[in-house]
C-alpha cells in the first residue's frame, strides 16, 4: 500500500523548523520516527585515520549535530523560504539558517562572525505523520568564508 495523502506533511516540517528556531531539539526529535534516518550530505570531518560523515539516525548523530550547532551559534535562526510536497510523503524546503558564532564548531574556530546560509532539506514522511528521513544540503565553502575560515580542509 502506498503512503498517500499524508495529512499535514508540510505542517510537520514547518513545526520542525519552528522548534529548530526555538532551539527545542527534543521537539525536533519528537517530530521524527524513533528510527528516522539522517543524512547531512556535505558533512565531512576529515581526521588522520578516517572520515566522519553526516549519515546515521536522527536520534544519534542528528541530535548531536543540532545540539552542538545551537551551542556554537546561540542566536541561530531558521527561516523557510520555499516549501513543496507531494501526496506520497515527500517534502522539500529551502531554508535560510543564520547565526553568530560564539564557540568553535568542528574545524571552524570562533571569530565571532555571523553567517546566513541557504540550505535544502528533503524529508520523507512516515505513515504516522512523523518524519522518517531527513537529508540536508548546503555549501560549506560559503559557510567557511562567512566564518573567516579559508582552508578547504
Amino acid at each position: 500500500m502506498s503512503v498517500t495523502s499524508i495529512p499535514g506533511a508540510t505542517e510537520v516540517v514547518t513545526a520542525f523548523f519552528d522548534a529548530y528556531s526555538e532551539h527545542d531539539v527534543e521537539r525536533m526529535v519528537d517530530l521524527c520516527l524513533d528510527n528516522a534516518d539522517f543524512h547531512y550530505v556535505p558533512f565531512e570531518l576529515w581526521g588522520k585515520q578516517r572520515v566522519i560523515r553526516g549519515d546515521g539516525k536522527v536520534r544519534t548523530i542528528g541530535k548531536v549535530i543540532w545540539t552542538t550547532l545551537i551551542d556554537s551559534f546561540p542566536d541561530l535562526t531558521t527561516r523557510i523560504m520555499y516549501i513543496t510536497s507531494d501526496d506520497e510523503g515527500n517534502v522539500a524546503a529551502e531554508v535560510m539558517i543564520s547565526g553568530t558564532q560564539a564557540k568553535p564548531f568542528g574545524t571552524m574556530g570562533n571569530q565571532g562572525l555571523h553567517y546566513d546560509l541557504p540550505h535544502v532539506f528533503l524529508f520523507r514522511m512516515g505513515k504516522e505523520g512523523l518524519i522518517e528521513e531527513i537529508t540536508g544540503y548546503w555549501d560549506t565553502a560559503d559557510w567557511y568564508r562567512q566564518l573567516g575560515r579559508l582552508e578547504v580542509d
Binding site: 565553502a141 560559503d142 579559508l150 580542509d153
Partner: protein, 143 residues
C-alpha cells in the same frame, strides 16, 4: 510527457552529454540559479555556460538520478550524483586530472511540459576537496 518525465529527460540528456537537448526542454526566458556558484540569469547565459563548462571539464561525465519527486506546485525535486574526471579548468579550478563525485539537488519548475525555472544546490567545498583545491581565497592555487 508528464512533469516527472520532463525532469528525467533533462537529466538523461545531460548524462548522454546532450546539453543542447537538455536546454531544449527549458523555456528561453527561464531563470537559472546556481547557488554555490552565485550565478543567476537566463538559461541561455547561465545555464548554457554551466552545462558546456561541465561537459568540457569532465568529458567522461555521468549524471545519475538518485531520487525524484514532483511537488504539488509542479516543481520537480531531484537528488542527483555527477561524476567525472577533470580534463580542463572548471569555473577557475585548474585541472589536476582528479576524479570527482558530487551530490546535488535540483529544483525544476515545469509548466505545460516546459521547464521555466531552475535552481540548484551542492557543496562547493566538497568539489574543491575532490579536485585538489587547498584554499578558498586561492582557488586556482592547489599546493
Amino acid at each position: 510527457m508528464n512533469n516527472q518525465d520532463v525532469a528525467r529527460s533533462f537529466f538523461a540528456k545531460m548524462d548522454s552529454h546532450d546539453s543542447s537537448g537538455a536546454l531544449a526542454l527549458v523555456a528561453p526566458q527561464a531563470e537559472v540559479t546556481l547557488i554555490p556558484l552565485k550565478l543567476q540569469g537566463d538559461v541561455e547565459l547561465v545555464g548554457r555556460q554551466y552545462f558546456e563548462q561541465l561537459l568540457s571539464a569532465f568529458p567522461d561525465l555521468s549524471v545519475r538520478v538518485r531520487r525524484l519527486f514532483v511537488g504539488n506546485d509542479n516543481t520537480a525535486v531531484a537528488e542527483i550524483t555527477i561524476e567525472g574526471t577533470q580534463a580542463a579548468d572548471f569555473f577557475g579550478i585548474i585541472n589536476q586530472e582528479k576524479l570527482m563525485d558530487l551530490e546535488q539537488v535540483w529544483f525544476l519548475h515545469v509548466n505545460d511540459g516546459v521547464i521555466d525555472r531552475i535552481k540548484s544546490y551542492w557543496c562547493q567545498n566538497r568539489l574543491y576537496r575532490r579536485l585538489g583545491v587547498k584554499r578558498l581565497d586561492h582557488v586556482t592555487i592547489t599546493s
